[in-house]
C-alpha cells in the first residue's frame, strides 16, 4: 500500500512537468522562430529558459524540504532519509543516490541554460546562438524527462515500516564535510561542458565552423575544466580522509568516469589554442568536445545504471537504457554532422615544424587521447567480457598504474618543453637559451632528491622532470612579472603556467607518496610506546562513544609525546556496518595516517592500529589549489580587455587592427 501523497510530492511533480514542457517549447520555439524568422516568437523564448530554471529550482528545493522535514511518504526520502541523520548530512543526502543526483545535475544544467540565454538574449536571431540554445534546451528536456518519467524522483513510497526503512544515506556519506562540496563541484564541471558542446554542434549545423564559436565558449570550457579538476581532487581528499586505506586514487569506475572527460577536456584546452592561433585542428577540436560531453553521459551511465553490479541488470534498471540511448544519439548525430561538414572543417594551415608550440600541443593531445583510451578500455573491458562471455572479471590497479606511469613521465617532459617553444618553428639557439635555466632546475631537483635518499628510476625521473617543467613554467612567469608586475600572473598563457605549477606539484607528490609510503601494523598497549619510522606512538586510552545513529570506539594515540590523535571505528546501528575513520597528522614533509582495525574490542585495552607514513600528501591539496587559482587567472583577459578601452563585443575597425 502506498503512502498518502504529500504536498512535496505534488509540487515536485508539477515543477518537473513545467520544466520539461518549458524546455521542449524552448527548443521547438527557437527552431520555428529561426526557420520562419518570426521575431515575436523569438522574443518569448527567454521566458522558457526562466521557466525551466524555476522548475529545477523548485524541484530541488522541494526535495530538500522533504529531506529536512523527513517526509517519508516519498520513496526517495525512505531510501536516503532518516530521523537520526545530522542536519548537514540530511542536506547532502540529496545527492547520495540516483534520483537526487539527477535533480542536482538538472538544476546546474538549467542554471547554465538560463545564463547562456541571458548573455545572448539580444543575439537570438543569430543562428549559431539559436542552435546552441536548442541543444541546451534539448539536453535539459532529457534530464527533466529522466527525473519525471523513468526515475520519478517524487514518487510515493509504500507506507513506511520504520523497523526496516528510512536508514539514512550510506554511512560513508555521513562521515565528512567534504560530501557537501565534492559532488556539486564535480557536477559543475561535468555539466559545464554542455555549453561548449552545444556551440560546437551549433557551429556544425550552421556551417560556421571557423574560429568564431570558440570565442563564445572559451571561458566556459576553461571554468568547466577547473570545476572538474577541483571536484576530482576533492574526491581524492574525501577518499583519503574517509575510506581509511591511506590512498587518494584507486582507479574504481566512479573515479575513472570523472577522469575520462577531464583527460579529453584537458586535451581540448590545449588544442583549441592551436585552432585560435593558427586555424588548425578544427575537426579534432570539435571531436574532443563531443568526446568530452559524451564521456560525461557515458560516465553517468556506468555509475548510475546498475551496470556495475551486472551487465544484465542495467536493462532492468530505471535509467540505463535511456542514458545509453542518449549517448548513442549524441555520438551518432555528432559524427553525422562532422561528416556532413567535412569540407568546411578543412583547416587552412599546416604545422610547419614538429619542434614548435603547435607541434608540442599536438603531441600533448596524442598522449592525452591515448591515456583516455586506456582508461576507457580498462573501465569497459569487464562489461564487454561479461556481455559477450557471461564471465565476471575485474581489471586491477596494476593495469592502470603500469600504463599511467610512462604517460605521466612523458607529459611532465612535454610540460617542460612546450612553454619555451615558439609558434611555427624553433631554432637550436633559441631552445638552448630558453631551456638553460629549466634544465638546471631539473638537474638540481634530481641532485636534491638523491641527496635526501630518494631511489627508484620512476620517482627520480618524475622529480627531475618536475624540476625541469617547474623551471620552464617559473621562467615564463618571472619574465611576465618583470615586464608587467603582478599583472604578469594573469592571462591565458601565464594563468596556464600557474596551472602547470599546480600539476607538477601534484605529480611530484603522487610519485613520492606512491613510491615511499611506509606502513606497518601494531597492537598498541597503554604505557608501552612503539617506535616506527622515527616517530613514537603510545596508546593513551580506548574511548567508547555513541549517538543516535551510531556507536563506536576511538583510540587516543599520543604521537611523538605530543598531541593525541584518535582513529575510530564507528558502527552505524541502522546498517550494522563498521566504518573506520582515520586520524591524520598533516605535515609538509609527510603525513602520519593512523587507522584503527575493525578487530578492536570495544571494551579492550589494546588497540590494533595500522600506521602509514606518507610523504608529501599535503602537496596534493596545495597543488590542487594552485591549479584552481591558475584557472581563475587564465580566465581573466576578457575582463581586463574591457577595462582600458572598448568592450569585447564592440565592432573592430580595420585600422585599429592594423590590417
Amino acid at each position: 500500500m502506498l503512502a498518502t501523497a504529500s504536498l512535496n510530492g505534488i509540487v515536485g511533480h508539477a515543477a518537473l512537468i513545467i520544466g520539461l514542457a518549458a524546455s521542449v517549447f524552448g527548443a521547438l520555439g527557437l527552431v520555428i522562430a529561426n526557420v520562419t524568422g518570426d521575431g515575436r516568437l523569438l522574443r518569448t523564448i527567454s521566458n522558457y529558459a526562466w521557466m525551466a530554471l524555476g522548475g529545477a529550482v523548485v524541484a530541488v528545493a522541494v526535495m530538500e524540504r522533504a529531506l529536512i522535514t523527513r517526509d517519508f511518504s516519498l520513496a526517495y526520502i525512505q531510501q536516503v532519509g532518516s530521523r537520526d541523520t545530522p542536519a548537514l548530512f540530511n542536506v547532502t543526502a540529496l545527492w547520495s543516490a540516483l534520483e537526487g543526483s539527477i535533480l542536482l545535475w538538472l538544476l546546474i544544467l538549467a542554471i547554465y541554460t538560463a545564463v547562456i540565454m541571458k548573455r545572448n538574449r539580444q543575439r537570438l536571431d543569430d543562428p549559431l546562438v539559436a542552435w546552441a540554445l536548442v541543444v541546451m534546451f534539448t539536453v535539459t528536456a532529457f534530464f527533466f524527462f529522466l527525473s519525471f518519467g523513468p526515475i520519478d524522483a517524487f514518487k510515493n513510497g509504500p507506507v513506511p515500516d520504520f523497523t526496516r526503512c528510512c536508514l539514512g544515506p550510506n554511512p560513508l556519506l555521513q562521515n565528512h564535510i567534504l560530501v557537501l562540496f565534492h559532488p556539486p563541484i564535480l557536477y559543475l564541471g561535468y555539466v559545464g561542458f554542455t555549453v561548449p558542446f552545444a556551440f560546437a554542434i551549433a557551429a556544425l549545423i550552421t556551417g560556421r565552423v571557423g574560429e568564431g564559436w570558440l570565442v563564445a565558449t572559451r571561458r566556459w570550457a576553461l571554468y568547466a575544466w577547473g570545476f572538474l579538476t577541483v571536484g576530482i581532487l576533492l574526491g581524492g581528499w574525501w577518499s583519503y580522509e574517509v575510506l581509511g586505506w591511506g590512498g587518494v586514487w584507486g582507479w574504481d569506475p566512479v573515479e575513472n568516469a570523472s577522469f575520462l572527460p577531464w583527460l579529453t577536456g584537458t586535451a581540448y584546452l590545449h588544442s583549441v589554442l592551436v585552432q585560435e592561433r593558427r586555424g588548425m585542428l578544427r575537426v579534432w577540436n570539435i571531436s574532443l568536445l563531443v568526446a568530452t560531453f559524451s564521456l560525461t553521459i557515458l560516465g553517468t551511465f556506468i555509475t548510475r545504471s546498475g551496470v556495475l553490479a551486472s551487465v544484465h541488470a542495467f536493462s532492468n534498471g530505471t535509467i540505463g537504457p535511456y542514458l545509453l540511448g542518449f549517448f548513442g544519439v549524441i555520438v551518432a548525430v555528432s559524427l553525422g554532422l562532422i561528416a556532413w561538414r567535412g569540407d568546411r572543417l578543412r583547416s587552412p594551415g599546416a604545422i610547419d615544424s614538429p619542434i614548435s608550440r603547435e607541434g608540442a600541443f599536438l603531441a600533448n593531445n596524442v598522449i592525452f587521447t591515448v591515456f583516455a583510451f586506456i582508461v576507457l578500455l580498462g573501465t569497459v573491458f569487464p562489461l564487454i567480457v561479461e556481455a559477450l562471455q557471461n564471465r565476471q572479471i575485474a581489471v586491477g590497479p596494476p593495469f592502470f598504474d603500469r600504463l599511467s606511469m610512462p604517460i605521466g613521465i612523458t607529459l611532465l617532459f612535454l610540460m617542460a618543453i612546450a612553454p619555451v617553444l615558439p609558434w611555427r618553428k624553433a631554432s637550436t639557439e633559441l631552445l638552448r637559451d630558453r631551456l638553460f635555466w629549466p634544465a638546471w632546475c631539473g638537474a638540481g631537483a634530481l641532485a636534491i632528491s638523491v641527496f635526501v635518499g630518494a631511489d627508484g628510476l620512476a620517482p627520480l625521473l618524475a622529480f627531475m622532470l618536475g624540476g625541469f617543467a617547474g623551471g620552464a613554467a617559473t621562467r615564463q612567469l618571472l619574465l611576465a612579472l618583470r615586464r608587467q608586475g603582478w599583472r604578469g600572473l594573469v592571462g591565458r598563457a601565464n594563468g596556464g603556467m600557474v596551472v602547470h605549477l599546480g600539476v607538477i606539484i601534484v605529480a611530484v607528490a603522487l610519485a613520492a607518496s606512491n613510491s615511499y609510503t611506509r606502513v606497518a601494523e601494531f597492537t598498541l598497549q597503554q604505557g608501552k610506546p612503539v617506535s616506527y619510522q622515527g616517530h613514537t606512538f603510545e596508546l593513551v586510552k580506548l574511548q567508547q562513544f555513541a549517538d543516535a545513529r551510531s556507536t563506536g570506539v576511538k583510540a587516543l594515540i599520543r604521537v611523538d609525546g605530543g598531541k593525541s590523535y584518535a582513529p575510530a571505528i564507528t558502527t552505524f546501528t541502522n546498517f550494522g556496518t563498521k566504518i573506520p575513520t582515520p586520524s591524520v597528522r598533516n605535515g609538509l614533509l609527510n603525513d602520519l595516517y593512523l587507522t584503527l582495525e575493525p578487530s578492536v574490542r570495544f571494551d579492550g585495552t589494546e588497540a590494533p592500529v595500522k600506521i602509514y607514513v606518507k610523504p608529501l600528501i599535503v602537496w596534493l591539496w596545495i597543488g590542487g589549489m594552485l591549479m584552481a587559482a591558475g584557472t581563475v587567472l587564465a580566465g581573466f583577459p576578457g575582463r581586463r580587455r574591457r577595462v582600458p578601452t572598448d568592450p569585447v563585443s564592440a565592432p573592430i575597425e580595420l585600422e585599429s587592427a592594423g590590417v
Binding site: G210, F373, P398, F400, A657
Partner: protein, 238 residues
C-alpha cells in the same frame, strides 16, 4: 557566394581582427613574448588578408584540399593499431575473476591481493607454474599471506624434487603464521610421505591428524582419512 558562406567569412574576419587586437594586448601585458608576437601577428594578418580578399572576390571560405601524404596516414593507422593492440593485450592479461562485492576496476590494496588469489585459484589445476607466479605476487604484497604460503609451498614441493625442501619450508611458515589453518597441515602430511626423500612418516601422520583436527574443507576430509589409512596399512612386500 551564398549568404551562409558570406556570413561565415565575415565571422572569420571578425574573429581574426579581434584576435589581432587581443594579441596586441596580450603582448602588452606580457602574456605573449616578442618572438611569438611577431609570428602570430604575421599569421593573423595573412589569414585576415586572405579572408578579406575572399569576401571581395565573392569566393567560398573553404580552403583548397591539401595534398594527401599516404605515408603519414599509414603511419597513423599503424600506430593506432599498435597502441590499441598493446592496450588490449595488457588489459586482458591484467584482468582476473571478479569476487563478490569487488568493483569492476581498480580497488584498494586488499582487493588486489584478493584478485591475485582468485587468479591463482583458477590456475591451480590448469597451469601450476602460472599459479606459483600469482601466489608469489600475493606474497610480494603480503609476505605473511597464509593461503599464498600454503599453496605456493604445495605446488613447488610437487614440481621438482630439488625444490621439495623449499616447499616444505613454506608450509612450515604457513603453519607458524596460522596454526589453525588446516590446508598446510594436510599438504605437509602428503608431502612428507610422498615427496620428501626419504619419506618422513612420523611427520606425515602427525600433520594429517592436525589437518583433520582443524576442520579442513569437506572434500579434503575423505582424502586425508584415506591417506591416514594408507599410512597405517601393513606394507606388503615381494
Amino acid at each position: 557566394m551564398n549568404p551562409d558562406q558570406l556570413a561565415e567569412l565575415e565571422e572569420q574576419r571578425r574573429f581574426l581582427l579581434r584576435s589581432i587586437t587581443d594579441l596586441d594586448r596580450e603582448h602588452l601585458y606580457g602574456d605573449v613574448d616578442d618572438h611569438d608576437y611577431e609570428t602570430l601577428r604575421d599569421g593573423y594578418t595573412a589569414r585576415a588578408a586572405s579572408v578579406l580578399r575572399a569576401i571581395e572576390a565573392g569566393q567560398s571560405a573553404v580552403p583548397p584540399r591539401r595534398r594527401r601524404r599516404p605515408l603519414v596516414r599509414v603511419a597513423w593507422v599503424v600506430g593506432t593499431v599498435l597502441i590499441a593492440s598493446l592496450a588490449g593485450w595488457l588489459v586482458a592479461s591484467a584482468s582476473g575473476q571478479r569476487l563478490p562485492g569487488q568493483s569492476i576496476t581498480g580497488g584498494l590494496p586488499g582487493d588486489e591481493v584478493a584478485l591475485k588469489l582468485a587468479q591463482a585459484r583458477q590456475l591451480l589445476g590448469v597451469d601450476p607454474q602460472q599459479a606459483i607466479i600469482h601466489y608469489q605476487q600475493v606474497l610480494d604484497l603480503q609476505p605473511d599471506n597464509v593461503e599464498a604460503l600454503t599453496y605456493k609451498g604445495w605446488l613447488i614441493a610437487q614440481t621438482d624434487s630439488s625444490l621439495t625442501p623449499s616447499g616444505v619450508a613454506l608450509l612450515h611458515q604457513a603453519i607458524t603464521v596460522d596454526p589453525t589453518y588446516a590446508d598446510p597441515h594436510c599438504f605437509l602430511a602428503i608431502t612428507s610421505a610422498r615427496f620428501v626423500q626419504p619419506p618422513d612418516l612420523v611427520t606425515a601422520r602427525s600433520e594429517a591428524q592436525a589437518c583433520l583436527a582443524n576442520d579442513p574443507p569437506s572434500q579434503m576430509v575423505g582424502m586425508i582419512q584415506s591417506f591416514i589409512d594408507s599410512l597405517n596399512a601393513p606394507t606388503t612386500t615381494g
